[in-house]
């Protein structure tokens, strides 16, 4: 065993994603505890300031370069990374649990014969072994598990692992030109959704539910979200009624989120919804039924008429922001 950690850096439009920096910081910390070596790998076309990962302790990045790999290709990316893992004999591989990371990690795991734990919210070393904690049943329970394989892959839930600047290093970037990448499956176009921000990545989310009474009233939610730079979310009831797109749904058959601040507005708090958002750091509930289960997980509540409270809140937050 080479005692080495490889962390995968995900880029979009040549910029390294914030969630990859979280994975870098975890890699550096694990490497210290295990006394392992570590390095990073990135696949793509031209990159913007990849050297900046040095600030988080990453000393070496291998950049697999080819213009046709600018956008994601599951076949291309997985082959390149599996080869690199074998080449440097890495035994721990970290990715972030983004749409891309979740898709990519299983392909790599088969190619290199590694076990895989996805969506980890905690990775800790106990008696020299890595114990991974991840939510199951949409967060209604947590399981701790370990991998029995020699090579181990973990994907880390975004927004959970802290970014800490450490051991500022001069990052050495090694560029490897990729010849004839395997492009059997490849992204040919990106369609941005109308929503301004995505719930999966947002630090503040404002979600609306059946209490809004109709799709036309979601402008109240949108205005409140705009006033603090938040993403708009929705309960399953609002999505199933056709008021909002599924991409905004928070909960068991939607997205599981853990932002810094979550507003639940006109949402009663069905168990499926609570499972998807109760790990948020701070929860505000606004609902006229003071017995609604949502108040059981909320830090702060207003048990009143949202049609009166929300415009006032939007005004107050605008005032505060300016």
């Amino acid at each position: 065993m080479a005692n080495k950690i490889l962390v995968f850096l995900e880029q979009r439009s040549g910029n390294i994603k914030k969630s990859s920096l979280e994975a870098c910081c975890k890699a550096v910390q694990l490497a210290k505890e295990l006394n392992y070596d570590f390095e990073a790998a990135v696949v793509g076309g031209d990159l913007n300031n990849v050297e900046s990962v040095g600030r988080y302790g990453i000393g070496k990045v291998v950049h697999f370069k080819n213009d046709s790999l600018k956008d994601y290709s599951s076949s291309g990316y997985s082959k390149i990374l599996a080869d690199q893992i074998n080449q440097i004999d890495a035994d721990i591989i970290l990715l972030s649990n983004t749409a891309l990371g979740k898709d990519l990690a299983p392909f790599i795991s088969i190619k290199i014969n590694a076990g895989l734990v996805i969506d980890c919210i905690k990775l800790e070393i106990e008696n020299g072994e890595i114990i991974a904690t991840r939510p199951v049943y949409a967060g209604k329970a947590l399981i701790e598990s370990k991998l029995l394989s020699n090579k181990k892959i973990f994907t880390l839930r975004p927004n959970v692992f802290p970014i800490v600047e450490s051991d500022n290093k001069q990052t050495q970037v090694e560029v490897v030109q990729v010849e004839n990448p395997d492009l059997r499956s490849r992204v040919i176009e990106y369609k941005k959704s109308d929503g301004k921000r995505d719930v999966a990545e947002a630090e503040i989310i404002v979600s609306g539910g059946r209490g809004l009474k109709g799709p036309e009233n979601f402008n109240l939610i949108e205005e409140l979200a705009d006033s603090i730079g938040a993403a708009v979310g929705a309960s399953r009831a609002a999505v199933d009624a056709g008021w909002r797109p599924h991409s905004e749904q928070v909960g068991q058959t939607g997205k599981t989120v853990s932002p810094n601040l979550y507003f639940a507005i006109g949402i009663s708090g069905a168990i499926q919804h609570l499972a998807g958002m109760s790990s948020s750091k701070c929860i505000v509930a606004i609902n006229k039924d003071k017995e609604a289960p949502i108040f059981g997980v909320a830090d702060y509540g207003i048990a009143g008429d949202l049609f009166e409270v929300i415009p006032a809140l939007t005004e107050e937050l605008k005032k505060y922001k300016s």
Partner: protein
């Protein structure tokens, strides 16, 4: 076209989860099991694909005798036949994928559908693992699918939008909510399903790579406080968010 769809049998999403006596799995006492919600989209897309190109739809599931209920539901929706790959023990994702891949290899479908994840262990990887074991192409979390000859173009949901992916058959597709509107099983469908065959065979043995150590209930947040009943509470709320919670 030969089409396969893989389904799982999971606790209803309204289930209150209680950790079982083994400390590693849930207490199944009184828990109602259902067809995994995302698999409904997979079945519907399989049926639509059959309606468009002809062929037949085989439903596969790995697990216990009880999984037959879920296979029957797919047969009632319109699938042609079912295969239960039997295993009395729970398996990790790779174990499930290996059992499925082994069976799919002999079936030889051009397209295999999965739900994008099962709502029990929330592992969204069985489709990809199976594809890689079969050396099939794969597109996950699909909300729109087009097949034209050998060419497959699908839209998959990602952060902030969709990406359009191009590949070729044979392919594994994992279905996301929004791909279609799953049909209800008609009475006629339910009756017809009774005559359809569910084949039963043992799932191939495989060594697990993941060992579950324990299951816990997450630390639930304590209920906070209700600070008012109308808009006069708003300034206090903003102050608390700023000064106490420090989140704005």
């Amino acid at each position: 076209m030969k089409i396969a769809v893989c389904v799982s049998h999971v606790p209803d999403t309204a289930t209150k989860i209680i950790v079982g006596p083994d400390g590693k799995t849930i207490d199944q006492n009184g828990v109602a099991f259902i067809l995994n919600p995302y698999d409904e989209y997979a079945i519907e897309e399989a049926l639509k694909t059959k309606e468009k190109f002809g062929g037949d739809v085989t439903v596969l599931s790995v697990g216990k005798e009880a999984n037959k209920e879920t296979i029957k539901k797919a047969l009632a929706m319109g699938a042609d036949s079912g295969i239960l790959l039997k295993d009395e023990n729970d398996r990790d994702s790779l174990g499930i994928a290996k059992a499925l891949a082994e069976e799919i290899k002999s079936l030889g479908p051009e397209i295999v559908f999965f739900g994008k994840q099962s709502v029990d262990y929330d592992n969204s990887i069985v489709g990809q693992l199976t594809a890689e074991l079969l050396n099939y192409n794969c597109i996950s979390v699909v909300v729109n699918l087009n097949i034209d000859g050998n060419k497959v173009i699908a839209e998959r949901e990602i952060e902030g939008g969709r990406e359009v992916v191009e590949t070729t058959l044979p392919v594994v597709i994992t279905a996301q909510k929004g791909l279609n509107e799953p049909r209800y099983a008609s009475l006629k469908g339910i009756m017809a399903a009774k005559k359809k065959v569910i084949d039963e065979k043992p799932a191939v043995v495989s060594e697990p790579l993941v060992e579950v150590i324990k299951m816990n209930k997450p630390h639930m947040k304590q209920a906070g406080r209700i600070i008012g009943t109308d808009k006069t509470a708003v300034p206090e709320l903003v102050r608390l968010l700023k000064e106490e919670a420090k989140v704005i």
